[in-house]
Symmetry: C2
Subunit: 648 residues, 2 copies
């Protein structure tokens, strides 16, 4: 049997919650949506301290349970990512216009810090291309990396320090919400645009140019390439194309045979080593430019070099903050996707603190900005890492490299680095994803293209801000125009659904049921008022030939989660407007927060408690009492008039 | 009998609408929510042209139906508002630091223009205090009104011209949506703050000071008053206090006896006339400062004075745009409130065009910014005006005044103007409204106080922007944290309601029903994911002692009006996460737009059409098939297990 629709429960008009209660619940939803302290509430003090320590410093959680069999996997994964870290470190440092050795330093200290504070098990720490280029172009605006390389480097350390402070602060203040405003579409467009301009810039390396532009946009780069045609070198170009083909082949191999992922993982270091050998034999000959001298030894301290000169501070802070957000967006997104694969939970705000500490310590020890890059983390995951120990192993490998092998890499040809960067970047231009966006959501596609075109034709920060601005406009437009639909009754049920979506749904003559979109806020109050009046007018236009007028308007507030003062006044206006037309208004199923505000604002006193209903069906039954047109209508399914006994 | 819950209708998976269709419907909702052309669709061409002309130029609509009996009322109302327009015009022109005669000019031409194009029947056109002060302070930043009064005046005309162009453009582009972002709370705080600083500024007039500050903030004004103590004059102060008490008495009288509204309406002109007589007898004596020479004659042309010198253009454009928006906000809000009282419909975008044309023509004929001020329109309404003809009568009275009576008003004492301004402004500081906001909505109160404190302690534009910024943050926070609630079954019904709001609602063991807030967008996708997982965790924490685990999660999407690409990917993530835990996910009642996107994005293919339900009840019945825990639970109301025949 089907349950009856006569409910014994009525709209709950109990006292509104106190402000403190509501405020606490809002704060919790805004800043602690994942309720991180749930696990050690209700525990004895000592255990709680231990759990809290484990929560804030995850190494205390996983190290005691660590076993030798896990270590074996981590050693393998660590060596694999170290072999990737060396060429990537050197390449991206060149992209950031800082000495290549800094790239190697950046794969030594930060992974150790992350191993202590980070909570992801699959993340591999390292430098990233987009951020490296962004640092170079932002700080390059105030200091030239070629004219004053020392000052430039010190400003890069300072920007890294600011990044670290900013990330830690965001994490401590639980402002992960800021990262949420970088939508998937923005990131797709931004990465695609950045990859495009980075690839174009690599033509400098491929062609062996010594003069080039510091600007990043397509037009400047293409002009720079063609204005120095006399510098083009075919030896360099041939070598670059061979390397690139080799790297692209290994990438294709990985796609076809996922088991052979390690081939593409070690391909870059193989490229570098082959390049070194060729360059070694061609030394003295200037056809192939090389990286140049790399000093043996571990990271020197750089804490004394941090430069807070007000002359450069604006640019440095700007670089620090933008790269901080980009770094977090990449790192958190990647941590999250691996957590889903392994069915773990990540805490974005805690990860931010780990990234922040890593960058602060990094800026003290001659490292520049690091995060959790996708390529390296994927290799780490595929190599079977079991814990953050793989980062420790990678750091150990880097230490050995720095202590003994650094001079070997001085022979690395720049063209090999260009090939490595290009092959990595080509994978980041996601045509298919942009096409998917175009098909599913045109506005998302515009947001994506704004980032892409902004980055490629103006500058990286303009592209990013344009796209984020457009996303915010979209969010505001959403709030300004919440969808309102007319509901009808699904035959033989108590369900009321959108009449456009379900053409079978029928409406009762004289009764107009509208489902309001959420929220009812200042930004949409005029719209909601006019939309409701338009529904009434349209309804009367259609039904007037039959002589039926709208006598009841029921507003379904079930989906409305929030209302503000202007919204309440709009409802008052609509009510007055309807009263003037002789129409009765009813509200259906207001949610706690909305009902509370309506009560405090005395709206319930104006409209009367009897006009608030728990369900549409109840409201319709109540409306039948006072309806004049009811009996005039012929085609109505008489059986379906809801029964009215036991009501009121 | 109660209708059965077995619906014959299923979720409508018909083909998604075409992009052009969706786009057209979005455009219409965004820019034409009131569907202004509805009235002359489906009409023969000639009639349509006539109707369109009447729509765009409302005088063609009301003038042919105009009768002599209406005219009698309009003459009375017109004379009453003219008696108010003279003192207000002179006062507000002093506030704007321009010659007082400009204030009188501004009540002659603009009302005539409004009578032709305006659609409100109760609006009385005139200058307003807040906007006058704002113009003075913005243009005063680049040109001093005392050192170069001619240039200052020309820039004020230019700002008025820009205001007109901007308002017309907003109206033509149907961008009334911009005015929506000035919330009621912002306006309350802004008006209160402006009224406070204007009242303080009137102390200059009360005390007869000749030196004063051009800044508007409380601190500067108070300092200016006390640093010129030697200039204080008791004669002026005594006269001012007497006038003020008289004016406040008439205001109180109107509140007690609404029939006597005309006493407070003519009180300002009486004050001015008494002031003139006193000043006439005290002439030569410098205790009482007067307005000074007022030239006879109608508005001279000022079109040649518009000054687009790039040196001042930034300030002029800024003044023009901010005052345009403020003027619109006041005018449209007032037009709307009278329309509600008279049960008419107003079209905000059309009103904008009328205001814009009025200001463009005004700027050509020596007028400064005019709009529909509240005080004057209320007097017009109370005096029984029947149409925009009352504005024509007022303009005619102003013409007579300008032609013959202007010199009389040269004797107007400044202190009388200060008293008039103060008594008008005191009514705009709405303590009770601020207190109401505090009680109903703390965030709205903060928005209001941001405007109030910003205006009183910094500058008017900072206060306005601070408050609008805070409103936008609120809108974004709303989008970032949509409320999610757990639903339970209301006993003996098919209704599912928030379990916190209705503690009587019971949940089925093993099934978690969540109602998602709207929208599912990039800005809240992380939150929604974490909140859903937290619901599952909390549910399992509670039920684990009994050995029941969550096996089904039903997401009620009935209230979700919009989803974007990032949102869809979040749903995919949540689905994968649940699959990893062995939980089945179902979607209930997705609305057209959401369902269309889910289909295009292939999400429906991933989750399967059988996991989409039309109602929660249907979904619960389907879930009972595969539930393990069902039979273990003892306390469950066996009768209420929804029956499952005819399903699937």
């Amino acid at each position: 049997m089907a349950p009856s629709t006569e409910s014994v429960v009525h709209v709950n008009f109990s006292n509104p919650r106190s402000f403190a209660n509501k405020f606490r619940s809002h704060l919790k939803e805004t800043f602690f949506p994942d309720d991180p302290f749930r696990q050690f509430r209700n525990e004895p003090p000592l255990r709680r301290t231990k759990k809290a320590l484990q929560y804030f410093v995850p190494i205390f959680e996983w190290l005691p349970k660590y076993t030798f069999s896990m270590f074996k996997y981590d050693v393998l994964a660590g060596i694999t990512i170290a072999s990737l870290a060396i060429p990537q470190g050197i390449s991206y440092a060149k992209l950031a216009e800082i000495p290549p050795i800094i790239g190697l330093y950046s794969s030594f200290v930060p992974p150790l810090v992350y191993a202590v504070f980070g909570s992801s098990r699959s993340m591999a720490v390292g430098t990233v291309a987009a951020v490296s280029l962004l640092i170079a172009s932002t700080i390059g605006d105030v200091v030239s990396p070629t004219d004053d390389p020392t000052l430039f480097l010190h400003l890069v350390f300072t920007a890294t320090f600011i990044t670290g402070i900013f990330q830690t602060a965001l994490g401590l203040l639980r402002l992960g919400i800021l990262v949420d405003f970088l939508s998937h579409s923005t990131i797709t467009g931004f990465m695609g645009g950045t990859a495009t301009i980075i690839c174009l810039q690599q033509l400098k390396g491929f062609l062996g140019l010594s003069h080039f532009t510091t600007k990043t946009d397509v037009v400047s780069v293409v002009r720079a390439i063609f204005s120095h045609r006399n510098e083009w070198r075919w030896e360099s170009a041939v070598m670059g194309v061979c390397f690139l083909l080799f790297l692209l082949f290994t990438v294709q191999l990985r796609k076809r045979l996922p088991r052979l992922f390690w081939v593409s993982a070690v391909a870059p270091i193989v490229t570098v080593l082959i390049g070194c050998i060729i360059a070694y034999f061609l030394r003295g000959h200037d056809a192939i430019q090389t990286v140049g001298h790399l000093k043996k030894g571990l990271n020197p301290l750089s804490i004394g070099y941090l430069n807070f000169n007000p002359k450069y501070l604006t640019a440095v802070v700007k670089a620090g903050i933008i790269t901080a957000i980009l770094g977090l967006a990449e790192g958190i997104a990647i941590g999250r996707s691996f957590a889903i694969m392994k069915n773990e939970q990540t805490d974005g705000n805690k990860e931010m603190i780990a990234f922040g500490l890593m960058n602060i310590v990094g800026s003290f020890t001659s490292c520049y900005l690091t995060t959790g890059p996708f390529s390296k983390s994927a290799v780490n995951f595929n190599a079977g890492c079991r814990s953050a120990m793989s980062n420790v192993v990678m750091a150990f490998c880097m230490m050995l490299t720095l202590l003994f092998l650094a001079p070997v890499f001085s022979y690395t040809p720049l063209v090999a680095l260009s090939a490595i960067i290009t092959s990595a970047m080509l994978g980041l231009i996601k045509y298919d994803e942009a096409y998917h966006l175009f098909k599913v959501d045109k506005f998302d596609f515009c947001i994506c293209m704004a980032a892409f075109l902004g980055v490629t034709f103006v500058t990286m920060d303009v592209g990013l801000m344009l796209s984020v601005g457009l996303s915010i406009v979209r969010a505001l437009l959403y709030v300004a125009r919440p969808a309102t639909v007319k509901l009808g009754n699904i035959p033989n049920s108590t369900l009321y659904r959108d009449v456009e979506q379900y053409p079978a749904a029928t409406s009762f003559p004289g009764v107009l049921v509208l489902q309001l979109g959420s929220p009812i806020h200042f930004a949409n109050s005029t719209y909601i008022r006019e939309r409701i009046l338009r529904w009434i007018n349209e309804e009367e236009d259609v039904s007037s030939p039959k002589g039926t007028n709208v006598e009841h308007v029921l507003l379904d507030l079930g989906g409305v989660t929030s209302i503000d003062m202007t919204g309440i006044e709009t409802l008052v206006e609509v009510l007055r407007n309807m009263q003037a037309k002789g129409i009765k208004m009813g509200l259906v199923n207001p949610r706690t927060e909305v009902l509370e505000k309506l009560m405090v604002a005395k709206f319930i006193d104006i409209i009367g408690q009897e006009a608030i209903f728990l369900s549409i069906d109840e409201a319709i039954r109540a409306s039948q009492f006072s309806l004049n047109v009811w009996t005039q209508k012929d085609g109505v399914d008489k059986d379906h008039v809801p029964d009215t006994k036991g009501l009121l």
